[in-house]
């Protein structure tokens, strides 16, 4: 029996742009999840690290006087929002690493030689993947936080938490993907991740309120994007959701829940606009 390896019958029906986009994006996303399934260490580490923060930092300040923090929050409850945001932030900051490795090992060229309907599917698959992972990790932290007695947001609060996290994850993923195409290799990308990660955490309201900080650090924390994600989530954990309520007492003035979300939306849109020319050039 002879087999022609050069040709085969293929479907001749016309396919829509959306069908093609869905097929290529699904295939690329599936690849990333298969990698995760077979190498789950990054997912596990991404949950373990913030868990350790939560348990150790929670214990460290567990004996702090109840009236020390604003609104009489316990430190554990105060810390929960910070660790949830830190988890999502750290996960999203790593979004560029798989893309960087694909660039370095030439796998990206395999994708670029294929007749993709839109090379945005490469970016879209990374965004889907990182968003899912970051949310999974954040929910794991929220569950643990609940188990430790640090509370659980109501249903409206949960929606606010998810919405806020999505905005943060989109923004940081855009930044990380931009870096993955702008930097020469994974060493440089990892260096940027290392440098950005902890300072951004400490210069935010994740671990302490602005009122505890020296003036210069208070200013830094008040303009740190993480703070704009932490405060609405903290408010969602503190009581009924009211976005018109002031959630951040910044040196430049009070900021409401709406204000925080608008800032996050602005940062997300701004970052995607900022990296678009780079992505267009690299994926042209």
């Amino acid at each position: 029996m002879t087999h022609s390896i050069a040709t085969t019958s293929q479907g001749s029906d016309e396919r829509s742009l959306l069908q093609d986009l869905a097929q290529e994006t699904y295939a690329l996303t599936k690849r990333l999840f298969l990698q995760l399934l077979r190498r789950p260490s990054t997912l596990i580490a991404g949950i373990l690290q913030p868990l350790i923060w939560l348990v150790l930092f929670g214990a460290l300040f567990s004996n702090a006087p109840n009236d020390l923090l604003p609104s009489g929050l316990t430190y554990g409850k105060f810390l929960g929002a910070g660790v949830i945001v830190f988890t999502a932030f750290s996960g999203a900051l790593n979004a560029g690493l798989p893309v960087m490795f694909d660039r370095e090992f030439g796998f990206l060229n395999r994708l670029l030689v294929a007749p993709l309907r839109s090379r945005s599917s490469i970016i879209l698959s990374s965004v889907f993947y990182i968003t899912t992972i970051s949310l999974l990790q954040s929910f794991a932290i929220m569950g643990t936080s609940y188990g430790l007695g640090y509370g659980w947001p109501g249903s409206a609060g949960l929606l606010l938490v998810v919405f806020t996290l999505l905005l943060l994850v989109f923004a940081v993923t855009a930044l990380s993907l931009g870096l993955a195409f702008a930097l020469p290799g994974h060493i440089e990308l990892i260096a940027v991740i290392f440098v950005a990660n902890l300072p951004l955490l400490f210069a935010s309201t994740a671990l302490a309120p602005i009122s505890f900080m020296p003036s210069w650090l208070g200013w830094l924390a008040a303009i740190n994007p993480l703070t704009f994600a932490i405060e609405p989530i903290r408010a969602a954990y503190s009581g009924p959701v009211d976005l018109a309520m002031v959630v951040l007492h910044a040196p430049y003035g009070d900021v409401t829940g709406f204000g925080c979300l608008f800032v996050l939306i602005g940062i997300t849109v701004g970052l995607f606009v900022l990296i678009s020319p780079l992505l267009n050039r690299k994926l042209a």
Partner: protein
């Protein structure tokens, strides 16, 4: 009819000019070989054809489609097997092929059918469901070829497909390429292995310094040269001064031409003789000059001789020269998107 038409292609990496007005026509349903030393511009040409790289200037069309204006249409009809095998070590071979099929928007049933066909032809049964990280070089290359063939391309572009492979893997890839050509696929293959191009190509071009310096049927190219090739050694390991003085003697002998000192072969001398009488004259003259002959071999012209005739140096010499001039940083930057 030419499937690939390249006109006056120019591409530079920093200050180094990789392509310097390259012209090439590849006929349909042929196996076309691109031969040249490393750094001659072969990979750059192939990367432009695959739409991975934009030229600085020039025109390229595949099957009448301008690749710069309609890159997606071109990508649909070509398969590319790069020099470096880019596989995802975490996926299995089958999963990689499925991914490839989805990126080419094939129907799921067609993907499975093609995987079955390629599995059978490339004998991948034993390992296709194992993770790619455990594959040998030959397995990786076969899988890479299967990826390039999955969507049944009209044109298959291969960049140094057998580099670093064992003899068995190499010959099985050669067999496959011959089979593909017989089934109507046009194959453009770059190589710096003379014997590979000689054995496979119907048509070929020799590239040097970013230009085509000779093209045609490999047999015709060799026959056009005429004369026999002689390699002469005066000692097992000579030196440059000695080799140059013998070269001066040889150049004065009637019927002897193109005398070149081959530094990479211990300063041996490569030359062309018109006939046997010229060889005899050469022996007599060397004896008169008290020059001992350690070894003398005579052969019909090879493709290396075609290259030597066109450039005045051997492919090995050219590789050494080009190696010094290459801006590897600029090339790496350009090859990594």
């Amino acid at each position: 009819m030419a499937l690939i038409e390249i006109e006056n292609l120019v591409k530079s990496y920093g200050k180094v000019c990789a392509l310097n007005g390259l012209n090439l026509n590849v006929p349909q349903a042929t196996l076309y070989g691109l031969l040249g030393p490393n750094g001659a511009g072969k990979t750059t040409t192939l990367r432009i054809l695959c739409t991975l790289l934009s030229p600085d200037s020039g025109h390229v069309s595949i099957a009448g489609i301008d690749i710069l204006k309609h890159p997606i249409s071109v990508r649909k009809i070509l398969g590319y097997v790069a020099q470096e095998v880019a596989i995802d070590k975490i996926l299995t071979g089958r999963e990689l092929l499925q991914l490839q099929g989805n990126l080419y928007h094939m129907h799921y049933s067609d993907i499975d059918k093609r995987i079955r066909e390629l599995n059978l032809r490339l004998d991948m049964f034993d390992w296709i469901d194992r993770r790619c990280g455990s594959y040998s070089g030959g397995m990786r290359r076969r899988l890479d070829l299967a990826c390039g063939l999955l969507h049944s391309p009209t044109l298959l572009i291969l960049d140094e497909p057998t580099v670093g492979l064992d003899i068995e893997s190499r010959s099985s890839i050669w067999e496959l390429l011959v089979e593909l050509k017989s089934q109507g696929t046009t194959i453009l293959l770059s190589s710096h292995y003379l014997e590979e191009v000689e054995a496979l190509a119907d048509q070929m071009a020799i590239i040097d310094g970013g230009k085509v310096i000779a093209e045609g049927d490999p047999e015709n190219l060799k026959n056009q040269l005429g004369g026999d090739r002689v390699t002469l050694r005066v000692r097992e390991f000579s030196d440059e001064i000695e080799a140059q003085s013998v070269r001066n003697i040889l150049e004065s002998i009637q019927g002897v031409s193109q005398v070149v000192v081959n530094r990479l072969q211990g300063f041996s001398l490569n030359l062309v003789v018109d006939n046997q009488a010229a060889v005899n004259r050469m022996r007599e003259r060397l004896e008169e000059e008290n020059v001992q002959v350690f070894s003398l071999s005579q052969s019909r012209p090879s493709l290396d001789d075609v290259y030597l005739q066109a450039t005045g140096r051997t492919i090995m010499d050219a590789e050494m020269e080009v190696l010094k001039q290459r801006d590897t940083k600029a090339e790496a930057k350009n090859s990594m998107r």
